[in-house]
């Protein structure tokens, strides 16, 4: 693992739940890792595979989508669709060597501020363990040169 | 007794009203003919004719026509099986001419098992014509002296005794007899059925056959298959499509001290029963990988000696 690796994580959050939960976490002054970039979405079901891939191409080490609890989607099935799409992206990332573990789907409600913080910590921990995305060479090369030196 | 259409011994015996017995030899997965000759020696006094399977279950084997040549050389009466899976209308007709020139007088027309069951599942199948159309073609060669395209055969037209198969255990059951009728209309002279285990269903099938008078137009040989073990019985029950093996048969095989002897016993009982069904003109014994047992079954069923 890279010592000073701070993962860059993009979280696509549904406006009706996760995004509000993030607000709540903030007002409760709950600590969560600062390396998470939140993107507000009208529904997790809006998530497009291309947008997730774009995030990785743009330098993200991990991505997650947070939608409402299953059965509670404001648009009925958006979060179920999102889960399936995440499954697809996982396979695709495995195929191209980036690793499907770098992307995840979470479900929570607007009232679950603490859970929001927990998810953020959980994902950060996971990506830290996985190390930088293979696309982020700057980090990747460091340990190699240090063993050589 | 009708005028013989061919030089087939099988036809002659059926016309004489004999209850005929046919057997089956699976050609080997190699290029040696000795095994076939050995089986012919073993069977030729106990069966009236023997089927040579055509790359059965889509596994590459010595060709049925070449196997038939070995049968003829050893003094047996061959029935070549011919599937429409691997040959188009050109190759089928060419092989019919060739087989006839070698002395083969009986052909059994069938669809053939799909190639996905065999040892070359990535093969491209042919299915240019279907089995009923093959029956029609063989009849056309014989009775109209014409190739399928309509062109005349100037001389030496092949005069086969034409067989087809029927499966009383396939679905839709109600249509099975009608399809048999189609085969008879197409020109089938004799029928060999799928192996019978469910006697009740076969009885029903034959009742429908008689209702439509088909038994008067075609000779029906009922298929039987001796079981070697309870495992074999279960396999037939579960994994072979178009087969029905009722539980009492499984139970009998399971309870038997000597499963092989029990298998023979069941088979003999079946043959005796089949002899009592109006419209059954003979039996076809399929002892897959167990050809040696056929003489025992024929003797026990009281069908030995065979007519000349």
């Amino acid at each position: 693992m890279v010592a000073d690796f701070e993962p860059k994580i993009v979280a696509f959050c549904c406006y009706y739940c996760a995004y509000s939960a993030a607000d709540l976490a903030g007002s409760l002054r709950l600590q969560y890792p600062s390396n998470i970039r939140l993107v507000e979405m009208p529904c997790s079901g809006k998530i497009d595979v291309r947008v997730i891939l774009e995030a990785f191409e743009g330098g993200a080490d991990g991505v997650y989508v947070a939608g409402c609890l299953e059965g509670d989607c404001h648009f009925l099935k958006g979060n179920i669709r999102a889960r399936k799409r995440i499954g697809y992206v996982k396979k695709l990332l495995d195929e191209i060597g980036i690793g499907g573990e770098r992307v995840e789907m979470f479900n929570l409600s607007a009232a679950m501020g603490p859970r929001f913080a927990e998810i953020a910590a959980e994902m950060t921990e996971r990506i830290r363990r996985l190390g930088p995305s293979p696309l982020n060479k700057a980090y990747k090369k460091e340990p190699a040169s240090s063993t050589a030196g | 007794m009708s005028e013989p259409k061919t030089e087939s011994k099988l036809e002659r015996l059926l016309n004489e009203g004999r209850f005929v017995v046919t057997g089956e030899i699976g050609p080997p997965k190699h290029a040696g003919g000795d095994g076939i000759k050995h089986h012919v020696e073993l069977l030729k006094n106990h069966v009236d004719a023997m089927n040579l399977t055509d790359n059965q279950t889509a596994i590459v084997r010595l060709s049925s026509i070449a196997a038939a040549a070995h049968v003829l050389a050893a003094g047996g009466e061959p029935v070549i099986q011919m599937t429409v899976r691997d040959r188009n209308r050109i190759a089928l007709q060419s092989d019919l001419l060739g087989a006839y020139s070698l002395g083969v007088r009986n052909v059994l027309c069938l669809s053939g098992d799909h190639q996905s069951f065999g040892n070359h599942p990535t093969a491209k199948n042919v299915y240019d014509i279907d089995s009923i159309q093959l029956v029609q073609t063989v009849k056309g060669l014989r009775d109209e002296k014409k190739f399928l395209c309509g062109e005349e055969i100037k001389e030496h037209e092949p005069r086969f005794f034409i067989g087809a198969v029927a499966n009383p255990f396939g679905d839709p059951f109600a249509y099975r007899v009608l399809r048999l009728e189609k085969k008879v209309n197409a020109g089938a002279d004799f029928i060999q059925t799928q192996a019978i285990f469910d006697m009740d269903r076969f009885e029903k099938f034959m009742a429908m056959v008689r209702e439509r008078g088909l038994h008067k137009r075609v000779k029906i040989l009922a298929g039987v298959m001796p079981l070697k073990s309870v495992g074999a019985a279960r396999y037939m029950q579960k994994s072979v499509s178009g087969m029905i093996v009722p539980d009492p048969i499984i139970d009998r095989m399971k309870g038997a001290g000597d499963p092989k002897a029990e298998g023979v016993e069941i088979c003999v009982e079946q043959i005796k029963h089949l002899q009592t069904i109006e419209g059954v003109a003979g039996v076809h014994i399929m002892a897959v990988m167990w050809e040696d047992i056929i003489p025992t079954i024929v003797e026990k069923a009281g069908l030995y000696p065979r007519p000349k």
């Binding site: 291309r50 | 098992d113 299915y127 014509i129 279907d130 159309q133 839709p172 249509y175 189609k182 499509s241």
Partner: protein, 223 residues
């Protein structure tokens, strides 16, 4: 419509391994509907290929264009301005027809990104099934609207074979026996007697045979 499916990404990557800049061409026709080669899939494949190559220290540049149809010259022409000298390879996400139309027009290395599967339709969202074997002489009127050529594993015209059991084909318990379907339908329509007629052998010269088949309509030709 024509149903196609993406080739594995690694396979496409191998096909273009020597290219630095590729033109990735989607198609707005059938393959958009069956979610194999529309604008979206083109974007996904392009992104995936770029990421794969970035990891190999051999960056790939992609240009993405989706045409209304790749099987019509009037739309293919619109690609002209993108087919510049620096394009090393064209990746087509159309069916095999589109790939060939691009290859006929441009003196470039053109590779397929899809496997073209069959002529079929959507049976439910996300599932497509074959319906027509493009035999050139439709006989659906004899079989109650169910195609025996492609839906029967043995293309039997006088079925069913002995392997049909409980409505399923001998080939797989997931496959309906086409002839059971035909029987049921003809029965429901009161036309079972039609099935008693022996269907004649098929004229396969009207199907795949003797080079590409052609359909000509003089009345609509412009010159």
């Amino acid at each position: 419509m024509i149903i196609a499916e993406g080739k594995p990404i690694a396979e496409v990557a191998e096909l273009i391994k020597d290219a630095k800049k590729v033109l990735m061409v989607g198609c707005g026709g059938c393959v958009t509907v069956c979610l194999a080669g529309g604008e979206k899939e083109t974007g996904i494949l392009a992104s995936a290929l770029r990421m794969l190559r970035q990891q190999q220290d051999n960056p790939l540049e992609t240009v993405e264009v989706t045409l209304t149809r790749q099987c019509d010259p009037e739309y293919v022409e619109m690609l002209d301005k993108y087919v510049t000298d620096d394009i090393d390879c064209i990746v087509s996400l159309a069916c095999g027809v589109g790939v060939q139309f691009l290859a006929e027009r441009y003196p470039k290395w053109v590779v397929p990104a899809l496997n073209t599967k069959f002529a079929g339709g959507t049976v439910k969202h996300g599932q497509w099934e074959e319906r027509c074997g493009l035999c050139g002489e439709c006989i659906l009127y004899r079989t109650g609207g169910i195609c025996p050529i492609i839906r029967c594993s043995k293309s039997i015209l006088n079925g069913p074979c002995g392997g049909s059991q409980n409505g399923k084909c001998e080939v797989s318990p997931e496959t309906d026996c086409a002839w059971q379907l035909i029987y049921d339908r003809m029965q429901a329509l009161g036309k079972l007697d039609m099935l008693l007629e022996i269907q004649p052998v098929k004229d396969w010269s009207k199907a795949r045979d003797g080079g590409p088949r052609r359909v000509v309509r003089e009345d609509v030709m412009i010159s």
